[in-house]
Symmetry: C2
Subunit: 118 residues, 2 copies
DNA sequence: CTAGAACCTGACATGGGTGTCAGAATCAAG
DNA sequence: CTTGATTCTGACACCCATGTCAGGTTCTAG
């Protein structure tokens, strides 16, 4: 599929998809004229990328991480190095802290919302 | 207490504390010479502000929200307007989506980490 | 062949909390 | 009074994913 369809199906802008490619996160074939041609599996990949961005990971971390994930029906094409494992473990801890933060903030909002309704 | 101590006790930079004041999030008395003097309750307030920032709320939303929260032992000094309640409800939904995202990303990380250990 | 839709690259802008620096004033201890 | 630590204001920079625009090329349906 081409970039417009991929954008539509993932909800991610074309601008961002091109940016992902430049960051080495998302590969694409090219038509003879130079237009990007994406495989079906790109949809899942883009969604995954978005989730990881939303989780606070930067492009370079995601770029290291993606090859170590299984994609579609195949297995992973790489295994994380010890250094990467350490980094990911740190990210994991940060995510846990963020979740805890979010839960507290959600409670705060609930309190204010409930007070206004009650 | 003064700004240095508040920064130390909350882990928030002096820069940010001054910024919070400019955004109307954090009030401070002034010494005759113009130095900020914070009440004890400021510590909790700053931590709360940080949590809300971490939850993705912007300064203006936090500024609207804070007066509707109970602070220390006292009750809230304001009640949320219907408009604010609607906005906060939307923020709450966004937070829920973010949490779901984080959980998925955490699972992704776990998968890669486990694969490298196994 | 042609028109219009879709795509290309490159460049500049944006947001918003935070870092940092400069130069001056204040505070507190000796 | 003096000195060093602390604080003040204001300005500029940064990050970094994303928006947007310009000018040109490719694709596809008629």
């Amino acid at each position: 599929m081409r970039i417009g369809e991929l954008a539509r199906r993932t909800g991610v802008s074309e601008r961002s998809l091109r940016y992902y490619e430049k960051q080495g996160l998302l590969a694409a074939e090219r038509t003879p004229g130079g237009h990007r041609e994406y495989a079906e599996v790109a949809v899942d990949r883009v969604i995954r990328i978005q989730e990881l961005y939303a989780a606070g990971l930067c492009s370079s971390k995601i770029a290291e991480l993606l090859p170590c994930m299984r994609e579609g029906d195949g297995g992973p094409s790489a295994v994380a190095t010890p250094k990467l494992v350490a980094e990911l473990t740190a990210e994991r801890a940060r995510i846990d802290r963020t979740i805890a933060d979010l839960l507290r903030s959600r409670d705060t909002l609930d309190e204010v919302i409930d007070a206004a309704r009650g």
